[in-house]
Assembly symmetry: C2
């Protein structure tokens, strides 16, 4: 627990925000995400032109200079200005002074001070920070502040005091179920830095793949990965890349369950004789390490020692989730062992395993972290709980004295909208934890489980939604305005593209591939208002394996449809404008007409592109939605009640259109019902 | 010269094509590029569904299997089918049999037999080839053959006999002026393989950068690269990646000129004392190695020995171009040396240098290749001439007995249309070379000089145009139909995206960044009918350095505007449809109206995005073009001659619109003039 200053800081944060709320005078729209602890705008502005120069004051080192260089390159990329390629002297003619007090932690860790202050006047911007990482965080804020008008680019006059609410703000990337390239990891580290996340939780092993080179036990990666693994050199490259950006890299080796891929090369570690093959399906599987044999601990001692030396982070994640113990139940030797040792059930056996594991990790200087399941009565207090179960579990752990982080609510693989993740708070307002207990809540992590993502699609599952989780973990608790969040998210999403992220640009490419030589327009229209089905329904409705192509419409479609949000909002404004029904009428009609014609155009295209066959009913329903909506608007506009049976027919069509096909569903049905009911209700007035 | 079978093969090719021309019966539109030597379609078809299985017959090895795996993955990607993850048995139930006779060359070289045969019936496809590389070429053809209709995906019934016209079909990538990442190189190697190119010419050193790690002389890359270089491990990775795809990797170390970056770390090699700094401007510079000092040869002996061991290719390119010898002229020691040795001028001095170089390369088992300038009377015959000057220079070299390759006509950095490159033939029909002399013409290379490309834009400069150069070098000489080339190119361009190329998707991203939060539509319309200025005018009109951002409109715009070609074609059809003027009238009017409104919408957007200021006159002219075109169409449609002064006013507007701004120019002016003149000429009838 390195968070002695945590609660006082939070108080400062809340005060600062309160102050801001009291003086809204010249506040332009803030396009910052995460929102800083305190922001005060004033009327000056600092021009950014080709004379813009940067200087450092106080501490400087290679990491800071590389960060400044990246800042300058991104500033140049947006403004198309050629700026000075070297640092300037710290004087009145320099536009940006970076005043850094010291290097901070050598290896990023929980004790890092990430705070910074920005002061922009018409003469100069001063970014001051106690550490290099603080300065890097401030540089990201500066890039978000960049604005422009006909006079040119500029930084608005502002005074910002900022620091994070939680010290642990992570993104888990599962590289085991689908391998992700170095390029994917690097651009996502850049994006994490852009929204001030500071932990890459690298989920390296699973039933479906063992993704890290072991020099001690090379059969692990050689036989467990299909050749898709990171060499130790590449691991070091990622760690260095993350460190440059003030990001920790915490590895996870998920045991004793989720370990099929380990057993392909080392069946002797398993609780059943094997042989084992790499798992290709999604789900929970039986293979588990045998916790009763000393050779397993000897193996883990050597392997985890190797990994502990490779990964400098203080923490090592041992997973520990979803082990059902079926192999244990069926293994007489294990049953004997349990009887002999008085281990009463599989939970106790896993607790025994974890206790042994903890000793191994402690010997190698690592703190242990694992999923909820590891929390057993015997567990020592210096283990961290990673909660997929929720804030209640997290609070209970905190009350017992365990540190914890939250991932419940942050499962970005489940295709929920950003607003869903945004409201999940590791320390919710109604928390009953004492201040002392609350210190145990270290933060949280977004989890990118990788059953259904490839390097082509993973960015669109992580971004932009993860930016709002980053905000939840950094910004004051009371930053909760959802419409404003979405407004800022759209801006941030565009900026993320400059880091090479493909979350926007790959969609159109995938649609082009699907329609082959045809016009992509009608499919684009359909995809703009459908989303992949949520939670775990995709596999139920459209089973695939880990080797299947993820190039279908369900893969091209993205969560959190912007068009559907816009449609909902326009419908609301239109209906609120009763009885004129003028507001947004033409936009709505235009949109609905596009649905109608796109649906019709899609049908012959589907005949030419068999991969689209699975969405044929959606194309059909798209036309119906357009038609029904146009009818509703027409009735409302004319003030003419529809025929008596129209409501039922129309609602039946909507009911039909609400059904998923190809693991995809329309997300405009609710707004459509409002339209239909409003039109049908006219008769009653 | 390993091309003994070359001329007979060509004859076969020509016969085969002739045969094909005589029986066009069931020929569907061929979407192949390059066009094979012989293609015969028939009416059967082979279905591709989830039962599709592949087997090998005869020789098989890891390289072939990896190639098959990539083929299956791409087939799955397009069809969204999950196919068998392993090879099948070679039997009647297997849909694709790959019959490979042997491994071919261990390291790709000029002697590789790249021929293959494909035979597709309704039961089975058989791909047979003498070598693994031949089989890989055939797999690319198969992927291009994939078709679909409402019955599903299928391969058309076809019999193909194919082999290349030239054995040297390359792409030069200059990684020195702007460094290109491993990712860029890999995806471009994939794309090269897709269009059957077989040489990556890796231009590794320049005035502006030294991009390869030297363990013997680490100051070369440490001081000459800004840290942007390839480690020797990465070089090996690229060579292995290329070999997997049947592609040679030939390095170029450009000397004695173009060598500023060498001299930053090793000024003692220069012909003037230095010190030197990395060159940041484009152009031709004075620094040159000193050809009169033995220590320079000793250095080169060691350095080129190191590189010769690193690169397994038979050839090593020594550049040798554009050395003006100004440093030599001013160096008294060099002048003395020349007098003493009776070296009459700088050309002779460079020839002396090259002769020494040749001995060094021969000692290390390498053949020497260099640009035109190296061809001096004293040059031994086993040196290859790389001609930027043209087919005449190439033919002269061939007559003297030198092997040669052509790059004149293939300078893809000069923003010429594909049709320009397509007509450049290393052995044109009017060649007067004897068959024996013609054997010396080995092929050609597209050259991606990198003054104005970054990893973000390079794909859009290489692709899709390089595919037509690949066709010129592979396909029979008489494959020259330009409209058909463009039709096929559009299809191939889409397929290239599946390899991760960004030539299409990055444009829209760059436009989004430029317009910031605005609608990208109007800028997209403008960019669709402008192109960067051609040849070397960009720098003249819009000077930048190698450190400048390449994120402007000129960088987002691409060569060879598809919209302009379409416009030209519609204008032609419309005018040919006189006096009805019906054909394409509504499409033309729609397009012109879009220009008019987009131009008007752009002006306020430019005020919000200062990076767009440089295209303000283009936005203005876009409106004028739309307006003028609509007027012309309106006069023609009504059959009403315009007022007498209309022609002059309109042509003056077009004259104004023809002017470049921001190093960009409209490419619809010619068609617009036709429209205006046709309307104005009505009065005369």
């Amino acid at each position: 627990m390195n968070l002695k200053t945590y609660v006082p800081l939070l108080l400062v944060v809340i005060c600062a925000v309160t102050v801001r709320a009291q003086e809204p005078a010249p506040t332009p729209k803030i396009n910052l995400m995460p929102i800083p602890a305190s922001v005060k705008f004033h009327n000056e502005r600092l021009a950014v032109d080709s004379n813009f120069k940067v200087a450092t004051r106080g501490h400087s080192d290679a990491r800071l200079q590389a960060g400044i260089w990246r800042f300058v390159k991104r500033l140049e990329g947006r403004t198309v200005l050629t700026l000075a390629p070297t640092l300037a002297a710290d004087d009145q003619m320099t536009q940006l002074i970076i005043h850094c007090q010291g290097p901070g932690q050598n290896i990023p860790n929980l004790r890092e001070n990430e705070s910074y202050r920005i002061d922009i006047t018409r003469r100069q911007a001063i970014l001051s920070a106690p550490t290099v990482v603080g300065a890097l965080r401030g540089l990201e804020t500066l890039l978000q502040l960049l604005d422009a008008d006909r006079e040119g680019y500029f930084f608005p006059g502002v005074q910002i005091d900022d620091q994070p609410r939680f010290p642990w703000r992570g993104l888990l990337i599962d590289v085991a179920r689908h391998f992700q390239t170095m390029e994917v990891l690097k651009r996502n580290l850049d994006a994490m830095a852009a929204v001030k996340l500071n932990v890459l939780h690298w989920h390296l092993t699973e039933d479906q793949g063992f993704r890290v080179e072991s020099k001690k036990f090379p059969k692990l990666h050689q036989l467990g990965s299909d050749g898709n693994f990171y060499t130790q050199e590449q691991v070091k490259e990622i760690i260095a890349y993350a460190r440059e950006r003030g990001i920790r890299v915490m590895p996870e080796f998920d045991i004793p369950g989720h370990s099929t891929s380990w057993l392909v090369g080392h069946p002797e570690l398993g609780s059943a004789p094997g042989p084992y093959t790499i798992e290709r399906r999604p789900g929970i599987f039986e293979p588990a390490l045998d916790p009763t044999r000393e050779e397993v601990y000897k193996f883990l001692e050597t392997f985890l020692g190797e990994m502990a030396a490779l990964f400098p982070d203080d923490y090592l994640h041992i997973g520990g989730d979803e082990n059902e113990g079926k192999q244990w139940d069926r293994n007489p030797a294990i049953q004997d062992y349990m009887k002999k040792k008085g281990i009463k059930d599989n939970h106790a056996l896993q607790a025994y395993f974890n206790t042994r594991l903890l000793k191994i990790l402690q010997k190698h200087g690592k703190k242990m972290i694992g999923w909820d399941e590891i929390l057993q009565p015997e567990l020592p207090k210096d283990v961290v709980i990673h909660s997929w179960r929720g804030t209640k579990a997290l609070a209970e752990a905190a009350q017992k004295g365990y540190d914890g982080i939250l991932s419940n609510g942050y499962y970005i693989d489940l295709i929920q909208p950003a607003s869903h993740h945004y409201v999940s708070d590791p320390l919710p307002a109604d928390s009953t934890l004492t201040p002392e207990e609350a210190k145990h809540v270290l933060g949280g992590e977004a989890t990118m489980w990788a059953e259904w993502v490839t390097p082509e699609t993973i960015d669109s599952r992580i971004w932009p939604r993860t930016a709002v989780i980053a905000e939840r973990l950094w910004s004051p608790r009371n930053v909760t305005d959802i419409p404003d969040m979405y407004r800022r998210l759209a801006v941030i999403s565009l900026q993320l593209e400059e880091l090479g992220l493909t979350h926007k640009k790959n969609q159109e490419m995938m649609l082009r591939r699907l329609v082959r030589h045809d016009d992509v327009g009608p499919l684009r229209t359909l995809v703009s208002i459908i989303e992949p089905v949520k939670e775990y329904r995709r596999y139920q409705q459209r089973p695939q394996t880990m080797l299947s192509p993820l190039t279908g419409v369900v893969d091209a479609a993205t969560p959190d449809s912007e068009a559907a949000r816009k449609f909902a909002w326009m419908v609301k404004e239109f209906l609120d404008d009763a009885p004129r029904y003028q507001l947004y009428r033409s936009e709505l009609s235009h949109m609905l007409a596009d649905w109608q014609t796109s649906g019709a155009s899609l049908e012959p295209m589907i005949d030419r592109s068999p991969a689209l066959k699975e969405i044929k009913p959606l194309a059909h329903n798209l036309s119906h939605l357009g038609e029904t909506g146009l009818e509703a608007i027409s009735y409302l506009k004319l003030g003419m009640p529809p025929p008596r049976e129209w409501r039922d027919t129309s609602l039946a069509k909507l009911e039909e259109a609400a059904k998923p096909y190809g693991a995809l569903e329309f997300v405009v049905i609710g707004s459509m019902k409002q339209l239909v009911n409003a039109a049908a209700d006219m008769g009653r007035r």
